[in-house]
Amino acid sequence: MFLALRDLRHARGRFALMITVVALITFLVAFLAALTAGLGRASTSAVTELPVDRLAFAPPAEGASPTFTESEVTPHQQEAWADVPGVGAAEPLGVATVRASGESTAAVTAFGVRPGSGLVPGTGDGGADVSAGTVVLSRGAADALGADVGDQVGAGPLDLTVAAVADAEADFAHTPVVWVSLDDWQAVGARGDAAAGDAQDGPTATVVALRFGDDPPTADALAATDAELGTVTATPREARSAISSFTAENLSLTLMQVFLLAISALVVGAFFTVWTIQRAGDVAVLRALGASTRYLLRDAIGQAGVVLGVGVGLGTALAAGAGLLAARVMPVVVDVSTTLVPAVVLVALGGLGAVLAVTRVARVDPHAALAAR
């Protein structure tokens, strides 16, 4: 790194420019990753943010992958889950998308829960819970319906009073979520037996939300109960793929991220290739004076490492900061996959570009290279 560091010091302006470019590309990649992740979350956040450990689905046919649209659990299944050792709470949860109208009309997803279930955000901190004839709106739903506490909101055949606006974003399949009591939910959302009125006593819901106790059941115990009851349990994260809009979008969003990463990696890789070729004259001199290939590689990688390290570091920090700010007004997610992953990929490919270029340069005959200088 003898020459690499002195180069950096000597050509400060040029390296500042390179670092800026690398930082901007990193910013772009990391911020767009945060945006796509945010978009992904807009179709799933109400599920992934549920304060539960597992969701038990009841698929219509054995072996079918669970979906929120088709799943339907019976009271028997819900009670059986509650009795499983290690399961602290097994709450029925109804999920259905309905047209709702306040000042304006919008599609919302109604989550039907029992009072005291703890599934409505904020209830733990003394926020309003559901009760018969009332509805709790998420912030998004309040905006979409133009409704506030005390207003009347129509949902299907029901007229509900807004009991509270929860201080939380909750979205399901790109619709804002409202919480109603499970009894009311039967009228707006239930399908099949419950809707037809010939169910056994008690309500029917879409899934059972399981909260584990201090001593959670083993994977084997879960699988055994699943087999016995004809249910399929999934973590809230796994349950994302039971949301039809998520499975449809996820591929496109993932592809977007992959392409973006690939393109910017190529750009950064090519950038360092060109830069190293620019240094070919100096490299030829070192070679003619007797530098080994390994010496040249260490020098080039060291230099690329400094530029990439500082540039990517700055860009990542910038994107994380901007992401956290933007998260207030749009769907943005800042986590490891939107910061560290792009950073590592960019550093790796930039370094690879420098290595490829310098091995090329090291191969040329120093005599010919010097003659051209």
Partner: protein, 232 residues
């Protein structure tokens, strides 16, 4: 160590055919002595020096590299690394152009030579300063090449070639940018150091007037050694 060049032939690709720059040159420079290589422009002097300085079939021990090369590309790289090791450990080269590194100061140009051999760059600073003093640029030690005159650059390049106490010294027109007095001094320095280091020095020049201290002379014309000086 003697420098022996045995039936050297070097051809450059030239359009459809080849241009023979050096043709069947056999030459020995005994250790401790200096031989002047004279000849008109384009005679092949620099080309001959390049061959002497880049022995592509350098022996294995030079680089200490294991002989595990697989595949032609690997083998070529190993050969190039062996040649580089030989240049770094045993050969001092002054190119026709000074070929200094733009981002290094004069002192660092010399310290780089220690660093290339895996030593701390500053490990032979006193030696470097003594060499710079000997070629008369010690007062420019912390300048970069862009702030030097052409002659000063050339002298730095000479000091750099001497930095690792070479056993073979290849010097291409060291006096072309110097006044007569400096030219004579530089030639004397090369002759003296070759003697002190017991090195074989091959010195290319146009300028016979500076060659008083040099006993042995060979003449090159059109790539071949010729007996008498070419008629001018």
């Amino acid at each position: 160590m003697d420098l022996t060049l045995d039936r050297i032939r070097l051809a450059y690709p030239d359009g459809d055919g080849v241009l023979v720059a050096v043709d069947d040159v056999t030459l020995t420079v005994p250790s401790g002595t200096t031989t002047a290589l004279l000849g008109p422009s384009g005679a092949g002097k620099s080309s001959l020096l390049a061959v002497a300085g880049a022995p592509l079939d350098a022996p294995d021990d030079a680089a200490g590299a294991p002989r595990a090369a697989r595949g032609p590309r690997r083998r070529a790289r190993r050969a190039a690394d062996r040649a580089a090791a030989l240049r770094r450990e045993r050969i001092g080269i002054v190119f026709q152009q000074p070929q200094l590194v733009a981002s290094l100061t004069v002192l660092e140009q010399l310290e780089l030579m220690s660093h290339l051999r895996g030593r701390p760059a500053a490990s032979r600073r006193a030696h470097a300063l003594a060499l710079l003093d000997a070629v008369g640029v010690a007062d420019r030690a912390d300048r970069r090449p862009e702030h030097l005159s052409g002659g000063q650059r050339q002298r730095v390049a000479i000091a750099r070639a001497l930095m690792n106490d070479p056993q073979v010294l290849l010097v291409d027109e060291p006096t072309s940018a110097l006044d007569h007095e400096r030219g004579v001094q530089v030639v004397e320095l090369v002759v003296r150091l070759a003697r002190e280091l017991d090195a074989a020095a091959l010195l290319v020049t146009h300028d016979e007037a500076t060659l008083d201290p040099v006993a042995a002379r060979v003449h090159l014309a059109d790539g071949r050694l010729v007996e008498a000086p070419a008629a001018v």
